[in-house]
């Protein structure tokens, strides 16, 4: 597929400029600049506590930035309500808990009918991609395995035709095989023209599918570029703290 290279030159679908964010009075993002184009998979890497989750929350509207702007498809969406952003096609699969434990799989898919599609259609798309989910349609999501839960979270995202898919530590607590499988699905989604921003602390899995990588440390994007070998040197310096 050539989607990735074509997307490099396309106008960015998601653009963060100088985003700052704080918890109480502690600023954790000091001006993040980041762009993701349609069809592109960008890996946002960085050590624990760097502010990766905060960045995703800002994009999804769950955390209001204290400065900077956020553009989605050319429109300024800084400080918009998460509901409206969701309706505009921003889909965040949050860290560790992208599902409602007491709702069944089918309930999850029913919730996505806010996009205008009806439930049978959404189910058809989701089950085609993840056949296991069809077998547990009536089980509460909390009883699914970790991999199945992430599949459900992804399926929810994919069934809504998101413009932007934000994934936070998808691999956490999952077996490497399962992770590889999930990321293969993510790559397919990107090929359909979705802008995907993947946050990971450990890069190996995601770099197989990412076109671009950005390293977030100390509240700023410290390095950005093609996901190739020079990245590894960068990463280790930030993770081990030798880059002062």
């Amino acid at each position: 597929m050539t989607g990735a290279t074509a997307a490099d030159s396309a106008a960015p679908l998601l653009e963060l400029r100088g985003i700052k964010a704080a918890y109480d009075r502690i600023t954790v993002l000091h001006g993040v600049d980041l762009t993701v184009a349609a069809g592109q998979v960008v890996a946002l890497l960085g050590p624990n506590g760097a502010g990766k989750t905060t960045t995703l929350n800002v994009i999804a509207g769950a955390h209001r930035p204290s400065a900077g702007t956020l553009h989605l498809g050319g429109r300024d969406t800084t400080g918009a309500d998460p509901r409206d952003l969701a309706r505009a096609g921003v889909c965040l699969v949050p860290e560790g808990r992208g599902i409602f434990p007491n709702l069944t799989v089918r309930d999850h898919l029913r919730m996505m009918t806010f996009t205008g599609r009806d439930r049978p259609e959404i189910e058809e798309i989701a089950y085609a991609r993840f056949p296991v989910l069809a077998r547990c349609a009536h089980r509460p999501a909390g009883t699914l395995s970790g991999g199945q839960q992430q599949m459900l979270a992804l399926a929810r995202g994919l069934a809504t035709d998101p413009a932007v898919l934000l994934l936070d530590e998808l691999s956490m607590g999952l077996a490497p095989v399962v992770v590889a499988e999930l990321y293969e699905e993510v790559a397919q989604l990107a090929r359909q023209g979705i802008a995907v921003l993947v946050v990971e602390q450990f890069a190996a899995a995601v770099l197989k599918i990412a076109d671009h990588a950005a390293v977030l440390a100390r509240g700023r994007v410290q390095w950005q570029g093609h996901a190739d070998s020079s990245l590894h040197a960068e990463l280790s310096s930030y993770y081990l703290g030798s880059a002062a």
Partner: protein, 704 residues
């Protein structure tokens, strides 16, 4: 057989109403995450409003129904959701519980104020003029048939709504994870609003349907919540079908007990208490989980210093001596119970404040203390007082053992059920014998209570009893403060913060819980015995569930973690009705309403008002010059009063003025900057780093 069927039909109709009300409970719990104690009260308000429109003002029944169900109930729901619940949404379960307890108390007070409880208000059943039809041999009234039909419709409608519509699914999703729901296009606020409206309408339907069967009485209708909760607990507060099943069990149980319970003195109360008993059992039998929710915000528990505790205890006794010498007989009788009820309120401090166990039956245990003292200490024998305390402690431990399985709101519900069992059944029993020991309670009426005989000195004037209560309160406050500083108290707070962590640190949560229940019951029993002495006669109604609630609320307003809450609660609970009493007979309801409103306002501030008061007065208590001056000035005033040079009113006003002036002076005199309010790890962040900080930290480290 015919009788069996007839009672079956009656039970079925009652069950239908419990199911309607209970499903409203399930709805607010699963969608708004609120355990709504005021749910029955909402139905009660609706029944009264319906009576007012349809019978009081003679509106046509359909119009009255439409106004109540489609206008008033939604308006009430929106008010509750917006004004009361939304601000506490992000706080813990306990704050939300306090809010609904305050709402329940407030609704009853409001209804009693608007609709004088002494006027009978008959409410005609629906289709009362149609003859009953027969189902086999059993007669079925049209009102009963209507009730069943409505319940069936509601069951089907709710099932469809929750499981097959997006609105219903969103409501459930918001309970699971509000933040995630917002990310998936749902609106938690809209869902909560919708749930409240629907639930309030269900309560209203239930209230209007059941009111013709039982009297239109604010308390009785509000306490239908017990039966509704029993039904809902069968469904673990989540499942509507099981709630309907639970409702059937309760409805039939009540109905068949009415029909078949043998007639004797011991059993009629059992029928009244049956739903509460069943609730207690159901809570124990059905496993229950807490809803996944936000972390509780833990309130800091103030740490009294030994000196501070002593000053406080001294002030309590001083205050009592002043009151005893200044107030007239009537004033002493009115305000004296502030100290004894204050002791009951103090019992919340170790239990709820330190250990985080919410109990709604402390006043009921106080009632046990009162009756045991009344019977054993009939001639004022002093040994009967420890005996009363021990019996109360034993009852507390006995509640604790089953309650160990319950936590948080379930414990509150279990203790509420226990309070109902006590006041509807146990307290109504005539005296009986167990293993040869004669046990007498309220003797189906009131019992006389004597003052104690203190080594030949008979304390029975109101002034003597007031001072005695104050001395006991001072001693109990000292003991509770000592407990807070000691190992056990710190263990209890650790238990509250995290049961698992407490266990991993080598504590034994179960033993600690039983101990704290017993201890706080002992304090409550002691307070109850003193309260009884001051009242001279006590009846069971003084200790029922609804009497418990305002005491609990005022204690929450004071701040459950602060030892001073005892004194605060005593006065804040006792004084307003007497102060207002000069204006009219509605004083009691209005002051209860005031307590409820204050509770609603203060649920936002879980630390309560006492720590703030303490902070205000601490400078004076610490001041080594002004404190003696204050004591001296009060002593002088007292002498002047004693010699008749000044009157009682002048004395009280002057004493208050002196105290306030010295407090202001002490605050101003406080030398040096006030101690840094910021914890050490925030130095240099929340406030600039100061040169002396380094030394302070070094010393702190050196001191270990």
């Amino acid at each position: 057989m015919e009788q069996f069927l007839t009672f079956g039909v009656v039970g079925l109709a009652t069950a239908a109403i419990y199911a309607i009300i209970g499903s409203g409970l399930v709805l607010t719990y699963t969608t708004a995450g609120v355990f709504n104690f005021a749910h029955g009260a909402a139905g009660m308000m609706a029944a009264f409003a319906y009576w007012q429109l349809a019978f009081g003002w003679g509106w046509p029944v359909p119009l009255a129904l439409a106004v109540v169900l489609l206008v008033l109930a939604p308006a009430f729901a929106l008010f509750v959701e917006r004004v009361l619940m939304r601000p506490v949404q992000s706080l813990g379960e306990a704050e939300r519980l306090v809010m609904t307890v305050a709402l329940l108390t407030g609704c009853i007070a409001l209804a009693r104020w608007i609709w004088d409880p002494n006027t009978p208000r008959p409410l005609r059943p629906f289709f009362a003029d149609q003859p009953a039809f027969h189902l086999g041999p059993a007669p079925v009234t049209w009102h009963q048939a209507l009730t069943l039909g409505v319940a069936a419709l509601i069951a089907a409608g709710l099932w469809l709504l929750l499981n097959h519509t997006r609105a219903g699914t969103e409501m459930r999703a918001c309970v699971d994870d509000r933040a995630l729901a917002r990310l998936t296009g749902a609106s938690p606020q809209r869902a909560a609003r919708f749930a409240w409206i629907l639930a309030t309408q269900l309560a209203a339907v239930g209230g209007i349907l059941i009111a013709p069967n039982i009297a239109l009485d604010a308390q009785q209708l509000s306490l239908l919540i017990v039966s509704a909760y029993t039904a809902a607990v069968f469904g673990r507060l989540r499942s509507l079908p099981l709630t309907f099943l639970g409702a059937l069990v309760v409805g039939w149980l009540e109905s068949y007990l009415t029909g078949y319970l043998p007639q004797n003195d011991y059993l009629p109360g059992l029928r009244l208490a049956a739903p509460a008993l069943l609730l207690f059992l159901a809570l124990l039998v059905f496993p229950h989980r807490r809803l996944r929710g936000r972390e509780r915000r833990l309130v800091r528990v103030p740490l009294p210093t030994p000196r501070g505790s002593l000053v406080f205890a001294g002030c309590v006794v001083l205050l009592a001596v002043l009151l005893a010498t200044v107030l007239d007989e009537e004033g002493l009788i009115s305000y004296g119970p502030a100290f004894s009820l204050g002791i009951v309120a103090l019992s919340y401090v170790p239990l709820a404040g330190y250990a985080g166990q919410i109990s709604l039956c402390q006043l009921s245990i106080a009632g046990i203390g009162a009756v045991v003292w009344a019977h054993l200490g009939g001639a004022g024998q002093l040994w009967a007082l420890p005996a009363a305390v021990l019996v109360a402690a034993a009852v507390g431990a006995a509640i604790a053992v089953p309650a160990l399985r319950l936590s948080g709101i379930y414990l509150a519900l279990g203790t509420a059920a226990f309070a109902v069992i006590l006041d509807r059944w146990v307290f109504t029993l005539p005296s009986f014998e167990v293993l040869g020991v004669r046990i007498a309670l309220f003797d189906q009426g009131s019992v006389e209570v004597q003052g104690p005989n203190l080594f030949g000195w008979r304390l029975d004037s109101p002034a003597e009893l007031l001072v005695l209560s104050a001395v006991v309160m001072a001693a109990s406050s000292l003991a509770v403060g000592w407990l807070r500083r000691g190992r056990f108290g710190r263990g209890l707070i650790a238990l509250r913060d995290s049961e698992a962590a407490y266990a991993t640190l080598g504590g034994r949560p179960l033993a600690a819980k039983v101990a704290v229940f017993a201890l706080s019951a002992a304090i409550a029993g002691l307070g109850g015995a003193l309260y009884g002495m001051q009242q001279r006669t006590v009846t069971a109604e003084q200790f029922n569930l609804l009497a418990n609630l305002p005491v609990f609320l005022v204690a929450v307003i004071g701040g459950l973690g602060a030892v001073g809450t005892g004194l605060f609660t005593g006065f804040a609970y006792i004084a307003p009705p007497h102060l207002l009493g000069h204006f009219g007979t509605w004083a009691h309801d209005v002051s209860t309403l005031g307590i409820a409103l204050a509770g609603m306002g203060l649920a936002h501030n879980p630390a309560g008002v006492v720590p703030g008061l303490r902070e205000e007065w601490a400078p004076l208590a610490r001041d080594r010059v002004l404190l003696p001056v204050a004591c001296g000035a009060l002593g002088l005033l007292w002498l002047l009063y004693g010699t008749g040079l000044i009157g009682g009113a002048i004395f009280l006003v002057a004493a208050v003025l002196v105290a306030v002036a010295l407090r202001i002076r002490a605050t101003a005199r406080q030398d040096g900057p006030p101690p840094a309010p910021d914890p050490v790890e925030w130095w240099g962040i929340r406030r600039p780093w100061r040169a002396e900080d380094r030394e302070v930290i070094a010393r702190g480290i050196a001191a270990g």
